[in-house]
Point group: C2
Chain length 567, copies 2
């Protein structure tokens, strides 16, 4: 009845707490440096794992993360659960209808960007297995097939994130890339599932293998047709007759777990079943945004960190770091993926600039490569040093994606309101009573911070204000001006308990005043910033929440938690 | 490196999927019958456990839920994790400021309703341990102390839910009960934590025990003062500078896990640490509703079912069901808790009616008793048959709470709009073009369903409509009438793509028309129903979402998912 004694339970909770806490902390730090969170999460594992903690305080490392005993078993079980749920959520993001809509171009990009790296990987894996870090007794064909898949796969979540960050997601280019990545995902995971089936020692014999492959394809086909239809019919019933959102949430997790159990049982890895179940579930327009977000947030911020930090725990990243191998894998991966995607995009009729943008987008490997590599490591197909090389390659290809596309498309960094807010440019209690005084007071703060002439700023803003008053209603005002010589936008915020008359259409006084100064040469910025402010304050109680802030940090917290997405 | 092979992993995922799926399903079924979800969740475990599946298909039971081996270890670990997170969320619900506000009355209710059952339980446990199912070699004092706590504890979450369901939560009576239950919770868990410390075999010696107790009190005191202050300071920083809501979510879970690990390490059970951490976190007004709900929903609908179904898996509820013992425990529990609470309420100056309402509210034991019982069973203090008796007592005291209070306060069941919607009273496409036609069409449907005279209904509604038009804006209209002889309200819904002129203040046509017929003798019902409809449709896009529905189920799903809480 009792498998964990009090001390083991305490260690389990401590280890989980440290994993989640450190992974989230370093994940946030990575994001402050504009890097993906997964980089930080992985580093948390590197610090807690054999690479750092294992060197500095080996007894602590063994105490927290023993290699044997019930604690090791529980951590492995939870880590499997985490990755199954992660793939379920990844599946939800796949929008099959997009693929049909995009048609020819995306199909061609998908085919070329999957097939060319696959063949290149297959050839290299077959011709130079030892140099690439094949495990001694692993089957050469399986190793070559694994390397082929590792080269061919793209990471849909990373690509989607990069495109969203650059406001490219809803463009034609974005849709071609996303739908190609979806196809790549589906094909890649199916092929990989089959390879895992091939290496399953329990299978043995050709008959068993073909049975596994047959069952896998059957599962995917049934789930995406009949299963999808059934889910689509079931969701309204669940929403109408069960607790909301608990009913749908429980259904989604159950579906993912049972799908995962099924594919694991037929000899394919569990994650494939969860992923396909996620795709089938995400295809229903009845799945509400709220359910999607609930699952996404809990899985991304609690389970995923456990898994990705867990990767760092597995391997000593310093002793297994083999620079020539890392370089080889990185060059091979970039060369074959870029050439494949660029050729595919040319074949699909895209412009030269767009071809390269597609190339760098499809090149991002992200979390998917980590999962793939870990499974191959666990199955004894690859050596630890190849695993480390794959991890580095996955991170670097993801990191370079955004900046390279921005460079190629000559896009500027999008302007996020929150990036411009700062304590120096915030006044909790405006002295001003009139509109003119408010403009003056805020202009002086802006002038001081950005080294401008205060009177010139005031006059520019006031001139604009006299033309049309800038009270936008909902108790917010947005006085603004475009200034020659300014390089970056300046946003000053002042709060006023009493309120200031800004001649708003709804007749209300302004309690929150944003002064927005933008460079003369870029008229779009001011519109972007004003639009995002007015969207934020359209929410009921927004001004009340902002006025409750006692200082800048609380003000920023209120602004941020009002924003549906990071801005 | 490898602790779970493919088959064990498949079994783990299958077992978890079945546990969550069955528990949610039976939990929903329990709620359809107006019973608490935990009853259904527990029954799911009874079906999958030794009681049913173990009898009908023992080999399946052993396959799914083996008692030894890695699968048993993982399930135990996840189950511990689930209960830790559950107590963290339970702690969030505790609002310490309430207790100070309520002052004298609630303090007196809390003292009497905790102390009297505690002393009665202590006496009975000491005087007749064998009849009550003490485990043979358990320490008599510890057994008596355990029984005392089991009698004294109340279940804050159940009580809060009962009061909310009856719209009593925000009343004086409700606040007295809730704040007394909060005090009871704090004292009860502290005492229980100390008892668990006493029975910790590793502790041994009086010095160690007093050290454990000292550390426990120190932890609680520090966490609720310094810890609370630090958390309150940290939350705005997290909200301002980390990913929202991921940053706060990760922080909350990490805090709960580390608190749990600490108390487990000092010899007190983990759940105490998580609970106190939850109280400290929930006390900050910076904790946003969204974070609370995210945690609450994921924990209540994914983790809690695993734990509560897991309880059913532990014991054979049929062979261990001992009717005399169950009766004895139930009578003892009700007698001492009711008398304690009623005396306390009298002492606090409440009316006789309110005294008994307080009594039956405090009597609800709910999930807390299950957790307590399970820990005692695991620690070898009680026999399985006492455990079964405690489970039955916990469920029955929770089940009787709501109906008894309603009876005592002579409250009628609150009217929930969703309960009156039905396929027979729904028309997807109204034929009507004018207001008069719409009233006629809907009245005919109402008349048919409720066996009334169609013309009389039409005239009654039209008479009302002529006085003041019932278009309430936001494209919704609420024609209505009070009819003599009607026993229950009748609500008919019609949708109109084209829209019907109902003379709304915002000038928009009505696309959703609710015809509300209510009994003449109860004028409040109509106001209640109208208020909840207009609240629902104040949400942006509400009408669009409703109009997307193709039939009744999709309509009901849209209505339900628009509602912040079940209505």
């Amino acid at each position: 009845m009792h498998h964990l004694d009090a001390q083991q339970l305490a260690v389990m909770l401590l280890a989980l707490g440290l994993l989640i806490g450190c992974a989230r902390l370093l994940g946030e730090m990575a994001q402050w440096l504009h890097q993906p969170a997964v980089l930080g999460e992985l580093l948390a594992g590197v610090f807690l794992g054999p690479t750092v903690l294992g060197k500095l305080a080996p007894e602590w490392h063994v105490y927290l993360f023993p290699r044997e005993g019930p604690n090791a078993v529980v951590l492995e079980g939870i880590s499997h659960l985490a990755i199954v749920l992660f793939l379920l959520v990844a599946g939800l993001e796949v929008d099959l209808s997009l693929v049909w809509k995009q048609g020819r171009s995306s199909l061609r990009v998908a085919i070329a960007s999957t097939l060319i790296p696959f063949l290149a990987g297959l050839a290299c894996g077959w011709l130079m297995p030892t140099a690439l870090g094949r495990q001694g007794d692993a089957d050469p064909l399986i190793f070559a097939l694994f390397l082929a898949t590792a080269m061919a796969i793209s990471a849909l979540p990373v690509i989607a994130k990069i495109l969203m960050d650059m406001n490219l997601y809803r463009t034609d280019l974005g849709m071609v890339v996303v739908s190609a990545a979806i196809l790549n995902d589906l094909v890649g995971w199916t092929v990989f599932a089959v390879i895992l089936g091939l290496m399953n020692p329990a299978a043995g014999g050709r008959a068993a293998i073909s049975q596994t492959i047959g069952l896998t394809l059957l599962y995917a086909a049934l789930m995406l047709t009949l299963g999808r239809w059934l889910i689509h019919r079931t969701l309204p019933l669940l929403q109408a007759y069960t607790h909301w959102p608990g009913g749908v949430l429980g259904f989604a997790v159950t579906l993912g777990l049972l799908g995962a159990a099924f594919t694991e049982a037929i000899g394919i890895h569990a994650i494939f079943g969860a992923f396909v179940a996620g795709v089938a579930l995400g295809a229903s327009r009845h799945l509400q945004e709220r359910t999607r977000m609930l699952l996404d947030e809990f899985v991304s911020f609690i389970f995923a960190p456990i898994f990705f930090a867990g990767i760092g725990l597995r391997v000593d990243f310093l002793t297994q770091f083999d620079l020539p191998l890392v370089t080889l894998v990185l060059l091979l991966a970039c060369a074959c993926k870029l050439s494949g995607a660029v050729l595919g995009a040319r074949w699909g009729g895209l412009s030269v600039r767009d071809q390269w943008a597609v190339g760098f987008a499809m090149n991002a490997r992200g979390a998917m490569e980590l999962i793939l590599g870990l499974l191959a490591l666990e199955a004894g197909v690859i050596r630890q040093r190849l695993f480390v090389a794959l991890v580095v390659m996955a991170l670097l290809t993801s990191l370079m994606g955004g900046p390279m596309i921005r460079l190629i498309l000559r896009q500027r960094q999008p302007h996020r309101l929150l990036d411009y807010l700062s304590p120096k440019l915030f006044r909790r209690d405006l002295q001003a009573i009139t509109r003119r005084e408010a403009v003056q007071e805020l202009s002086q703060m802006a002038a001081q911070a950005a080294d401008l002439n205060a009177d010139a700023v005031t006059e520019a803003v006031w001139a604009r204000e006299k033309l049309v008053a800038t009270g936008i209603g909902h108790q917010v005002a947005l006085p603004h001006a475009r200034l020659a010589g300014l390089k970056e936008p300046v946003v000053v915020v002042g709060l006023s308990e009493a309120g200031i008359e800004f001649d708003a259409p709804d007749g209300q006084l302004a309690h929150v005043v944003f002064l927005i100064l933008t460079p003369k040469h870029d008229p779009a910025i001011q519109l972007e910033l004003s639009a995002s402010i007015s969207e934020m304050f359209r929410e009921p109680h927004a001004v009340e929440r902002v006025l409750r802030a006692k200082g800048f940090t609380e003000f920023l917290a209120a602004m941020k938690t009002m924003t549906p997405r990071d801005r």
